[in-house]
Point group: C4
Chain length 238, copies 4
């Protein structure tokens, strides 16, 4: 294991990466992280690898400035500042997922919010936040590749659980790793439903209270889905 | 086997759960049940597990008040009242499937009925019923988690074979387990067709008589599909 | 092998059924047939089984009145008259595929013709034909389950290569079995393209001459695809 | 290996073909080529086989007039002139992919350009080019099957990285084989996003500068995806 990387959590984070890929939330790109359980100023994230290939030994411990604890850590993701700055700005957040899932991006690019259409997406509450990187950085390569851009993203996220990133993808946060994975999967599902429902007629979204109650209830049901998601992965190479 | 659970039927119900998952009608959530063949006041339903993982030994016998016959039965689904109250209200119903399949939900959320576009969906008759949980329970967590809400759902279902549940999913019923599975699969297929057809122009639905005749005819063809569905599952872990 | 069923052709027809299933052109329903090479008054079609499960030994030889040559043949498809009456009306036709593929049905139900959007679908020529079973039989169970309805379907087909069947599905014909399979696969692909293109703007279809030239050219390329389709099936149980 | 075919590059090109198929960019048709590393007047392309079945020993070395170096080379693709004439017209191009991917064709047939909606498609720059074969050849079988038509296509491509071909498909070019494969995969992804975004509202495309910066940045990330794509193929038969 890498320096200051708890073995169990490294395994859980590797599983989380594989699950995101298995559900087509990420392809060769995208990443999931978790705050260090012993030190809120640290977080765990894979080195630069496709999520489908992440193994426990690829997990690296980073500081909130985006630097690896281990000076000999392998090449990092360019966008680790998405994670570091959200952990800095949101003490309640324990896990972050950044992805380019295909039904969410159209909302980011049409400037429309995701809103919860069914109970599984109650965590979307009153809607997703929106991040326009051009407001913060002018013309860029669209990556959140500096503390400065990460801070701008964290400001756009605010107290939401999901922020859409124009021309890029989205980021969801959770109070635990499994919850963040669940949210990435169901943000995509809800986006697919929104696309279809808007084509049919006027969507009836969950009320704010329905969304809150659903979200609280769903948190108790995540283990049932998690067991299935792990089983779907089949035999692992770690 | 659990208390008062016929072994053959437990196996059939486990297969039914796996088939629903294999056809993407359910993911980690959703459930299928069947009325007890020897006592109409009882029904069989899995304990709280993802449908893809249900084995014969997970099947539990419940009373129509939602309580398990076996006082030591494992944790039940919160929504078993969907099943219990439909069995109470509809003596003709022998099986119930509750799901969140992705093409059906948009109709539930746009307040539009499913109507039969092709013979395979003749069971939809003059259209699906609609359930607005807010009318019965105000702001809720969207789950049908009490006898009271189950009764409201059963009233909305009325004599239909399918009820759409706003902000949630749908429930179909049948006069046998295989028929209910068939209906869950083809309600989703019909919803997908309706979405596409409405985008093209004015859909020509089956007439009421065509729907009835198709539905009667299809009931004789279900074994052909069932054989395929079981074969698709491959080797089973039970 | 069944009575008067050439072994090689039975194997080819079983492969054809499996290929249609593998490409999601058929599910538990649908069927492919081929005219008997030695007697144009006969044709070969599987007995009543899901296409994915058809083996060479399931192939039965039928007369053009829909009766099996072998008095002890297993239960036939109800809709064998689709095949028999097209073979009777169209001496040029050597193979027929009937299916319910999901992108084609919306055109049948919106009363719009398929028209060739790309060279692979040149066989669609000036467009698909349309069959309204109600014109021939009033309210029915939507199945072409008699010589009378088969004749009506064959009349609607006319000299086209594809007829859409309202509330049901479609039927394509070819001058050989592989060509008919090819056409069933690319009718579905073209339908998918038409749905998307019509959402974007005004589709530019192939001209009649482009369609004819493409169709002639493609016929020489079918072996390349057929080799792939067989390979995709993997190990066979026959 | 074929005459003047470097063994390593033949293997890489066979992998590239398999990757395109695995990502559903090609089916039984479509092809990828690479310019010969030692002689810019030559290029490597498979003989006439489905991309999913291409092995290193199927790779043939062609001259820019479309003739095979080896007089005993197996049957070539009819459309090798797509490749030869682009290599002639564009000295910067080192690899070419021609495909019929299903989300791109609607844009070709509605006469709309692909434009970059997210950073992964920055290579689309200010939009795709458009090729109308009828302008060059009148009514044809839609194939670019002669040097003359290949030259017309190359003229339409101009300095773009992607040209849509009405009634047919598309062609992308790159400065290396892996980059061209990447572009074929993400042109399809971007097309899918454009279809959905246009249904939602007014798409916000990348600015020209954002597209350029994204494209340059992505080129450094291709190895991460390539590793995954090769791993997805599993065991190879070569």
């Amino acid at each position: 294991m890498g320096l200051n990387v708890p073995e169990d959590l490294a395994r859980e984070l590797a599983l989380a990466n594989r699950i995101l890929y298995d559900h087509q939330i990420v392809d060769g790109l995208g990443h999931a992280s978790v705050r260090h359980p012993d030190d809120p100023q640290l977080f765990l994230l894979s080195a630069n690898r496709a999520p489908a290939l992440v193994r426990p030994q690829d997990i690296v411990c980073y500081r909130l400035d985006g630097s690896a604890l281990d000076p000999e850590a392998p090449r990092p993701y360019l966008e680790r500042f998405i994670h570091s700055e959200i952990y800095r700005a949101r003490p309640d957040v324990q896990a972050v997922v950044h992805s380019h899932s295909m039904s969410v991006i159209p909302f980011a690019c049409a400037g429309q919010a995701l809103r919860p259409l069914f109970h599984m997406a109650g965590f979307l509450g009153e809607g997703s936040a929106h991040f326009e990187i051009r407001d913060a950085g002018g013309d860029t390569d669209m990556l959140v590749s500096s503390p400065y851009l990460g801070q701008a993203l964290a400001r756009s996220l605010g107290q939401h659980s999901c922020v859409l990133m124009r021309g890029h993808g989205s980021t969801v946060v959770g109070t635990g790793l499994r919850q963040a994975i669940y949210r990435a999967i169901y943000a995509e599902a809800n986006a697919k439903l929104q696309l279809s429902t808007q084509a049919l007629g006027e969507p009836q979204y969950l009320s704010t209270r329905e969304a809150q109650l659903s979200s609280d209830m769903n948190d108790g049901q995540i283990p049932r889905s998690w067991d299935l998601w792990v089983q779907r992965l089949g035999a692992l190479d770690f």
